[in-house]
């Protein structure tokens, strides 16, 4: 056994800055913060909704303004990043075997994007935006 074992110093907090791949990993992981905050905002919306029209209308008025716009743009960007990164690994998570071969990843990813677009359009239509 070596008397002077080499221990490569690795920063506990900053290791992910060392390589673009680590940074991409972290960029996917931190999407949970805006998504979680958005879920809590929806819990607040339900609370206001259950308290009646005056409370709910005050909530809708309160979430208007530049700070809310900025916050929700952040939520939207991170939600899009979660969506694309989630769908792009579906061939690994849900491989489809056909006989001896595996279905090409582009079809599995493409199917997810297609469902995503249709689902989003349905929500926009149902919400009265389209």
């Amino acid at each position: 056994m070596s008397r002077k074992p080499f221990v490569r110093p690795v920063s506990k907090t900053g290791w992910w800055l060392k390589h673009p791949r680590y940074m991409r990993y972290m960029s996917r992981e931190v999407t949970c913060i805006p998504i979680g905050a958005f879920a809590l905002l929806m819990v607040c919306a339900l609370e206001r909704l259950s308290k009646g029209q005056a409370a709910y209308d005050a909530f809708i008025a309160a979430i208007q303004g530049p700070l809310s716009v900025l916050g929700l743009i952040i939520v939207l960007v991170f939600a899009l990043h979660n969506a694309t990164s989630w769908f792009n690994v579906t061939p690994k998570a849900l491989p489809v075997q056909m006989g001896e071969e595996f279905l090409a990843g582009k079809y599995i990813i493409g199917a997810h994007y297609a469902v995503w677009i249709v689902a989003s359009l349905i929500v926009l239509f149902f919400a009265g935006v389209l």
């Binding site: 949970c32 998504i35 929806m42 339900l46 259950s50 709910y56 809708i60 809310s68």
Partner: protein, 113 residues
């Protein structure tokens, strides 16, 4: 055989991540339009109240909100570890507790509507 509760939290993470992938961007867009002063028709009191009054609307809202919460909670637990905070037991309790309280409150508010 050693038992682990990991499959429960991981399956909630995976289900929530999938649901968030499909629905979080468009739902965030609805709220962004509201913040910009153009609330979609669904987010007016009368329409959202009618939607949340129906049992299918309640199930949809509870499913979306709670799965988003459990997804975010589990991923945040791992992310906090990755940022160098090595207190996994405590972090797990905090994040899952927030998700559990959010779930219970959402159910309570939906029952009251």
């Amino acid at each position: 055989m050693a038992k682990s509760n990991k499959p429960i939290f991981w399956s909630l993470f995976a289900a929530g991540g999938t649901l968030a992938a499909f629905l979080a961007p468009v739902l965030a867009l609805l709220f962004l339009l509201t913040a910009l002063g153009h609330p979609p028709a669904l987010l007016t009191y009368a329409n959202l109240h009618a939607f949340a009054s129906h049992w299918m609307g309640k199930i949809f809202l509870l499913g979306v909100i709670t799965l988003f919460l459990w997804h975010a909670a589990h991923r945040l637990r791992v992310t906090v570890h990755d940022f160098g905070l090595r207190q996994d037991g405590l972090v797990a309790i905090v994040v899952y507790l927030i998700a559990a309280v959010g779930t219970a409150l959402s159910a309570l508010y939906l029952i009251r509507i």
